[in-house]
Symmetry: C2
Subunit: 396 residues, 2 copies
């Protein structure tokens, strides 16, 4: 078996790795899975023959890795070509690899789909599964995605503190939050609120076309109402033309899946701050871009999220072996669905990889407030159990 | 008694407020201090007569406030003029105020010094004390300053996670950290390291003149050695001309103490990233500016820092009453000094306010590595007890 991690790291993607390895080392893999190889830097590790023997890592060390943010095996953003796939199968053949697990988001699911399809075409007998991960929460196959709850927890904590900072010094504070196509992570900023006048007072999502005129008007209205204003903005906000505003301001750099770089720069926040200083006549405007801290900050992961990430990895390996042995399917992804009823709980279910691949999911309409700059109670109810309790903050 | 908070908020400035109020409500204030008034937004609250009756706030609520980041009474950045002072004393006279405590950094200490001097000139009998606070750790009167340990903890945690993120995806990562004049907070990034090849690999402080040529050379060398590079840069880095580079790139906005705005914009990080893309021939360069999260993130304050912040507030009120009653002095600041010996501990001592006021302290030479882009073991030994244990992170 080969396992690898791909795409943007998260705080709990290592928990999925540990879950998958635990299943492979345990009952599920017994007699079916021999070597457990971790490929470094996703499919690049396979192409370069750069493997780690995961059976040699102690359970104690694996437990520590499950609590460590980022991708312990390293990551990549590579869309495999047909040629890549042939090289992968040649490498797999030499090592007698029958199982391949790829942990990642929609682009990584697409990579796994390509590998599975090419394997079928080439007649290479490969059991190929995708394990879900993305802080963006935009996989179409899942109610929510491992990695989201922890990043959302970071964002909600950050906004709770930053709102207090804005209470102390006033003016407008803009916080730019990750999420290329979907507003779920930016929306989580609303969980920061404890009191009616707590920020964020305005929330802008990629799902709602962004208008500079409306933005300036909204900020003026909030300043009038609250005497201050905290704004949560998705890095993916786009105008009516559908082109992300941040992408226009950035370096134009693209990865091999065609995604334009948006994180790792403060350009969008700075540009919005300039706009407000000029048009909204606010003297004190500050902008922070949360950047990579959202996905990598140690020690604050959501417990529910970490448990589910582990579960997704574990179930993927167990299901892959079971379905392959029974001859049902050679390929799939793990969908996380929510149990019905009052008490929060999830099921792990099989879906075709294509259900998670390529196209991202947007925030559903019922989660977006009608005014276009807030979220609904339905979203708060949806997100709260994923994030857990936040540090309480008191005001005078 | 009137108490107020001033300057940039911190994660533990409320603990100082609570310490001061606890002393005033307790033995120290018994029979000496009647009403305890919290002025909202520093001296602006005094000028506007905007007070909170601190005796009416329950101990339970005060405990929660001590654990809440930012300045619960609100803050300001106002240097009091002679006219302001006259208005303050008029207000104080009406309310029969004999004690004034101002919690803040060097500018706030300067404000307290001005108020104390003007009171003496006007013949208004005011006991006026400064209580130290600043995440920058740049008060000349203190071994270290309440607020620093917690902000340093945020920075060290952030770098520990961000270094793992860089391990996963490679390239250069630049993190811009607060600290207008002193490099203490940026230097704390070095506490993130657990292993020899852990980042940050390069640390740039305001105390060492910044050269673009050396920077590019340093990054190239680190890329060659580690195959990746994490850089911690102070927002206050300056060239040979002594002018902060970030200030040249920013809005030019100044507060009434003459400080140019540097935080709340990603301009410095973006500019350094562009430089590396052009000159160091690195393809993947990302820059994050930690911004206000460093001083306001809830739930991760350093316990030692919170305890000392409370202690500084408590001792200030107790000492102020004692010295005023005995006729020794009407004014002072609390200096935090470190006990000699192996076991970490501090003393709280009296100093004239002028010792904390106006001029900032820089990192001492023995804390800066000779290569100009790192810190020394002496700094790590100095900073570690202030920050506490960090979440352990494991790699494969």
């Amino acid at each position: 078996m080969v396992i690898a991690q791909s795409g943007g790291p998260s705080m709990v993607i290592n928990a999925s790795l540990c879950g998958a390895v635990a299943a492979a080392k345990g009952k599920a893999g017994a007699g079916k899975i021999g070597k457990i190889l971790g490929a470094r830097h996703g499919i690049l590790g396979i192409l370069n023959g750069d493997y780690v023997d995961m059976r040699k890592i102690s359970t104690r060390k694996m437990d520590a890795i499950a609590r460590t943010p980022s991708s312990a095996l390293g990551s990549c953003r590579r869309k495999p070509s047909a040629e890549d796939c042939r090289a992968i199968f040649e490498n797999f053949k030499k090592l007698n690899v029958g199982y391949f697990f790829y942990i990642g988001g929609n682009d990584s699911a697409d990579a796994a789909r390509i590998v599975a399809e090419e394997a079928a075409k080439e007649g290479y007998p490969l059991v190929c599964w995708h394990i879900p991960k993305t802080i963006d929460n935009d996989l179409r196959s899942c109610d929510h995605t491992p990695g989201y709850g922890s990043a959302a927890r970071f964002v909600a904590c950050a906004l709770r503190g930053d709102d207090l900072d804005n209470r102390a010094l006033g003016g407008v504070k803009i916080d730019v939050i990750m999420g290329r196509d979907a507003g779920f992570l930016t929306a989580a900023s609303a969980l920061a609120r404890q009191r009616e006048d707590d920020g964020p007072h305005l929330i802008y999502l990629p799902e709602v076309p962004f208008s500079e005129t409306k933005f300036v008007k909204d900020v003026k209205a909030a300043m009038k109402k609250f005497g201050r204003c905290v704004v949560a903005v998705s890095e993916g906000i786009r105008g009516k033309d559908g082109v992300p505003i941040g992408a226009k301001l950035g370096s134009g750099e693209k990865d091999s899946h065609g995604n334009v770089q948006m994180s790792g720069t403060g350009a969008l926040g700075d540009s919005l701050a300039r706009l407000l200083k000029e048009k909204a006549e606010v003297k004190r405007v500050r902008a922070d871009t949360f950047g990579y801290l959202q996905r990598s900050f140690p020690g604050i992961a959501s417990d529910v999220d970490r448990d589910e990430a582990f579960g997704a990895g574990f179930v993927a390996v167990a299901a892959a072996v079971k379905e392959a042995v029974s001859g049902t399917t050679m390929t799939g992804t793990i969908a996380i669905t929510r149990k019905k009823g009052r008490k929060y709980g999830v099921n792990y279910e099989w879906r075709p990889i294509a259900d998670a691949a390529k196209y991202a999911r947007s925030m559903p309409r019922e989660f977006i407030a009608k005014n276009g700059h807030d979220v609904t109670q339905a979203f708060l109810d949806y997100a709260r159990p994923l994030v857990g309790e936040l540090p309480p903050c008191e005001i005078i």
